[in-house]
Subunit: 423 residues, 2 copies
């Protein structure tokens, strides 16, 4: 049987070359359709969603019970572990291949199991157990450091020694398309003597990738590079919405809290680690050499194109405001997970690890408006007369990401959020 990542594979379903969902991808999500059935697990293929519950009921999987795919979240499937993830993906690939008649020639099953994507509603793909946010792009940390502390003290002393991160709030992780209400909070601009409470005036996005942890670890136990890697089920695109003015006033000494808890948006599709294998590469050279527990023997970064579009309510089309790449990350997802467990923290199925804002070395590769507008001093022009330093009500922000193969793209679709007013 050919490997499901084989670039030569074709599906009997037509997939455009710029689609994010060729047969080499097969990302998992949770959807509901017009049939009125409860949300369940599906896989994206071209412009369709493949209903895994329908296939499982029809006995098309040896190992996985239909109930696993009838769940409104990927957690029960993820709990089955990497071998089942891999064999299930191989089986789905086989069922969708143009030269495999089983599903292709079974019209009744095709009608039940293939739902046009235009007819589905996509839900949050997994129950988020814990959400942790890292800060692992050297370019981003440097930009922020230069803005607030000057060029000579840009990076904090600990930054080059460990993936700095903090616990985020799992209860407000939402799926693409969920409107984001402008948060209110305590604000104290440098010019004010006392704080006031009101709508955030410096609302920002952060372009991140999210690791989806699919296997648990034992409380008190450390992880090796290999163990951490095998616990990663897949990735999502993640928008870590941020209230910069709230953050500035609250964050000393315990870190960001209310500035980040109001919403975090993720893509509806989880692209598996296996589907991203062909696009692995080594990250930047790490100097100083990390401590032993953080050292890597494998390439743990990914060559993944990322872009951000912004559309104000009065614009007819969105404007691109950033194009960058996941490959720039200084600390890899594997290093983040190893560090997270190093003190004895138990990891759970459904944990989500944000990479931190992904900025590249060039000016047009910045992953937040704070950097793009250089803290408001260089507003970005979207169309004539429409400038942005931070997000305004009605603004719609879209992130996209994909890995480019030979004639196909392994992508995430998009994560969209529109800002609604505070009141």
């Amino acid at each position: 049987m050919p490997h499901p990542n084989d670039p030569k594979l074709r599906s009997f379903i037509d997939v455009a070359p710029d689609s994010h969902f060729p047969i080499q991808n097969l990302p998992y999500g949770v959807f509901s359709a017009k049939d009125g059935l409860a949300p369940r697990v599906g896989v994206a293929i071209g412009d369709y969603v493949l209903d895994l519950w329908q296939l499982a009921q029809d006995c098309r999987f040896d190992v996985v019970e239909p109930a696993v795919f009838a769940a409104p979240q990927l957690n029960p499937f993820m709990a089955l572990g990497p071998k089942v993830w891999s064999s299930t993906r191989a089986r789905i690939s086989e069922l969708l291949r143009h030269d495999h008649p089983e599903l292709r020639d079974n019209e009744a099953l095709r009608k039940r199991a293939l739902v046009p994507m235009t007819d589905v509603k996509l839900h949050i793909p997994f129950a988020v157990s814990g959400y942790t946010d890292f800060y692992s792009s050297k370019e981003h940390a440097t930009n922020v450091g230069v803005m607030f502390r000057g060029k000579d003290n840009a990076l904090q002393p600990n930054w080059l020694h460990m993936p700095i991160g903090y616990n985020g709030r799992a209860s407000t992780v939402v799926v693409s398309g969920t409107p984001v209400r402008r948060p209110r909070g305590q604000l104290k601009p440098p010019t004010a003597d006392v704080p006031s409470f009101g709508p955030c005036k410096r609302l920002d996005f952060e372009l991140e990738m999210g690791v989806v942890v699919g296997q648990p670890s034992v409380m008190g136990e450390m992880l090796t590079e290999k163990q951490a890697e095998e616990m990663i089920f897949g990735f999502v695109i993640l928008n870590d919405w941020s209230a910069r003015d709230v953050q500035q006033w609250e964050y000393v000494p315990l870190g960001p809290f209310q500035a980040k808890v109001f919403a975090t948006s993720i893509s509806p599709w989880v692209v598996t680690r296996e589907a991203l294998e062909p696009f692995r590469l080594h990250g930047p050279v790490q100097d100083p050499k990390p401590l032993l527990y953080l050292q890597q023997t494998q390439p743990n970064n990914y060559d993944m194109a990322l872009e951000v579009d912004l559309r104000a309510a009065q614009m007819s089309a969105p404007k691109n405001i950033s194009r960058t790449n996941f490959k720039y990350m200084y600390w890899s997802s594997v290093q983040q997970l190893v560090h997270h467990a190093a003190c004895g923290c138990a990891m759970n199925v459904g944990d989500l690890l944000g990479s931190g804002t992904i900025s590249g070395p060039e000016k047009d590769q910045r992953g937040s408006l704070l950097e793009i507008s250089w803290n408001g001093t260089e507003p970005v022009e979207l169309v004539e007369g429409v400038k942005r330093s931070f997000l305004e009500d009605g603004d719609s922000l879209v992130m996209r990401g994909w890995c480019q193969g030979a004639g196909y793209r392994v992508g995430f679709g998009e994560v969209e959020g529109t800002i609604t007013p505070s009141e």
Copy 2:
């Protein structure tokens, strides 16, 4: 029917005056017994656990289905809301009253439903949805500030304006009695040029109370004082174990992370907010006056005695190292919850909010070894020849808390943790 908080109530079960579990308390927990049945919900009364599932099966509750008490966590019961919490407690109080024959005179039911506490194993009482840790004792924040920044800059500028807090890690909240393995982490003492990785050398406890949130809030919506109060199901004692050396190196700029994620211990009994009603009082005067959304019209503090005992492996009996009171907290639990939701954060059933270390104005009222030993400069003598600046392997730490009524105590039992070696 007399109110379940009536000081004159007596149970047909003998309860010693210094017991934490008189009929005026009725705290909820999750237990398993020698019968081999799965963990389920019970209430502490004197030296017994009352098996609510057995009572419910025997149709002793109008409103609550037996399945709610058959769960290995309080979450399904908490989800039923404050009216059910109150009516259930009233019904349990009635069933346990000395002048109510229903259970008292039903020997068969008594045998099934009353389990000696010596025969039960206590489990974590609820599934922790999100864990948030605050920093709301002015005495604690001042002590820490004086140690690290000097007397004149002890409190950060934001501290008097909001309950400072950060997201903690829910996956490692454990019940009293769970051993705590000494965490490993990155350490960089001021004398070292580069960090190293190894066992924490400055392991500490933090005496806290934990609020157990029993009702959800809507994402994007703020809470009033009244709404926040009604969402609080009850309280636990909480030990926020801390690796001070890990924290010192990692915490700038995103706050404590690995220093706190390795374990958080809570008491097995959740004392209901209703049982604590008679012990409410006003907290310290807040100056400056808080912003409108944080203002209080009711007394939201509690007169609750707290004590900490420490026993090194070579000691035959524990030594008391702190006696303080929950009433000293500057920011109340209600203010913490209001602030938590203010930016739009959705609260969930099972959220746990740590109060922050509870220190009082006197030297013997400090709630952490960092303060007791004044950052290691004044080690505390436990017995002759045994001193502690921080915790050592084999040390057992016990926290206790109770409110003193007229001839009875409404208490939490204890939260114990023993330090085991790193390897």
